[in-house]
Symmetry: C2
Subunit: 324 residues, 2 copies
Amino acid sequence: MIDLAQGRGAATLPADGTAETFDAWLRRRQAQAQTLIERYVPAAHAVVPQLHEAMHYAAALGGKRVRPLLVWAAGECVLGDPEALDRAACAVELVHAYSLVHDDLPCMDNDVLRRGQPTAHVRFGEALALLAGDALQALAYEVLTPDTGIAPALQARLCALLARASGADGMAGGQTLDILATGTAVDAEALIRMHSRKTGALLKASVLMGAACGGFAPDRSNAHNQSATEALQAYGDAIGLAFQVVDDMLDVTADSATLGKTAGKDAMQNKATYVSVLGLETAQTLATDLRDKALLALDRLPPAERARSGRLRELADLIVLRSS
Amino acid sequence: MIDLAQGRGAATLPADGTAETFDAWLRRRQAQAQTLIERYVPAAHAVVPQLHEAMHYAAALGGKRVRPLLVWAAGECVLGDPEALDRAACAVELVHAYSLVHDDLPCMDNDVLRRGQPTAHVRFGEALALLAGDALQALAYEVLTPDTGIAPALQARLCALLARASGADGMAGGQTLDILATGTAVDAEALIRMHSRKTGALLKASVLMGAACGGFAPDRSNAHNQSATEALQAYGDAIGLAFQVVDDMLDVTADSATLGKTAGKDAMQNKATYVSVLGLETAQTLATDLRDKALLALDRLPPAERARSGRLRELADLIVLRSS
């Protein structure tokens, strides 16, 4: 198992010309995510400090920042615009943060512990938690649409990717399938259908938003662009699913202190998971297969992008081999 | 009082060259809003029908469609792009619909009646209502960012306006101030601070999104553009506030059947309103003053736009003189 504090040691050339290990990259990018969150979700605000405090609490506390990491890793692969990448990384994390706040509410998962701390509604009350989630979603689109600094066409493309990944055909739809499936018999196919939306869509969008920052989008008139985008889409699909399979495994194998959230929750709530449906061993095999699939997808990148796909490869390992 | 079924009779030239009364325009635009909602929020969907049903229920049922009307009225004033106007009108109504679903939840206003029907959480349960609201917010940005049909720069501008009006500095912030103020002593200034965000921001954004569809945005290097935008901003400010003042008056003077929602709710919940703070008579004077202010703002439009501001004028009357 890889701990987030343990890098993989693979060296690439960062901007300053010195080799940077994956571990150093990880720490640098996670710190950068924190800086961006502090910038765009300051704890204090003149007019409605309570709302900003709740938003800040939800977005700033801990988290592995997997989605921003995917944005930046894809961005390094396509030499994406740095300002756009930073804003995309922040926006996708804001959507993730809002979804956690709403998922934890009493009418949903009714969870009291998140990242080792009381959940937002425990801390601020349900009404403020609900509104903080709503405001974080809106803020994501604010962050993506600055007056200057990002080409408007890229702003529109980033908003389009984020909205489609988080709405009824993406995250919110998957969350609905999850809620409706609780307590019912579910097979592996239904699980994949649910999770490809619930968590997969936003993870995949993170990769594609990073790609968009380098001008990459599906484009049949441009073979290079098209094949790079298809490879990154396939990577995003595989990694999105792998993430959830591993999450389900960790719910069984890890303890609450390591996870920073309530372990064993899925079984307690009688939720169908990859572990409950496939068994722990088959789930482990599936996770490993999905990582291989993700790495194979990167092999299909055009040569220049393939040469810069190191961080995406390392993230695939991290996502599958993580311990929390 | 003006009923929505009673037009003001002012005639302007519609696209087909015949005179169209305000009443006819209103009915045509309201029907168009319904058509757009049915298109973008279909009741049935292959993968997650329950979520789509809840989204459709929240967005499709009744409503005056004041925000879409403002988008189109401003759009006619600036000769805005029709496809962009339709999508902007739909998007702003989707955000409005999501805010109502969340406002009605038990942890917020805990209301059971909306537009004469059970509220979404009464009909679908709290979890689905919450998710439907979340998905409607995301859908608004999907609608604004089609692959083709609207210039990407306009897409970005529309997303920017909508996000800023609905987030922590807009609607969600105002809603928070409202919740925090319930049961406490509030003066007129605090009420305006709250309502300019809670309802005013989205109404103003409707006007500015319509203006954006004609290429109008603040631009100090372009005097015509700048002065038109400033006039429309002032109109939006006045009309946004007037709407809420009248809403508060109707809560006291109208009955639930006419309103389609629970009348007398504000007093019951000990909420500060323009009526409770100013008294009914002063509130009425304020509403009339705000309408005058809105009309004066339109007088400051450049001549070409002023000549096409008829629908905005009529909407100012409608908003202040409506009976529901």
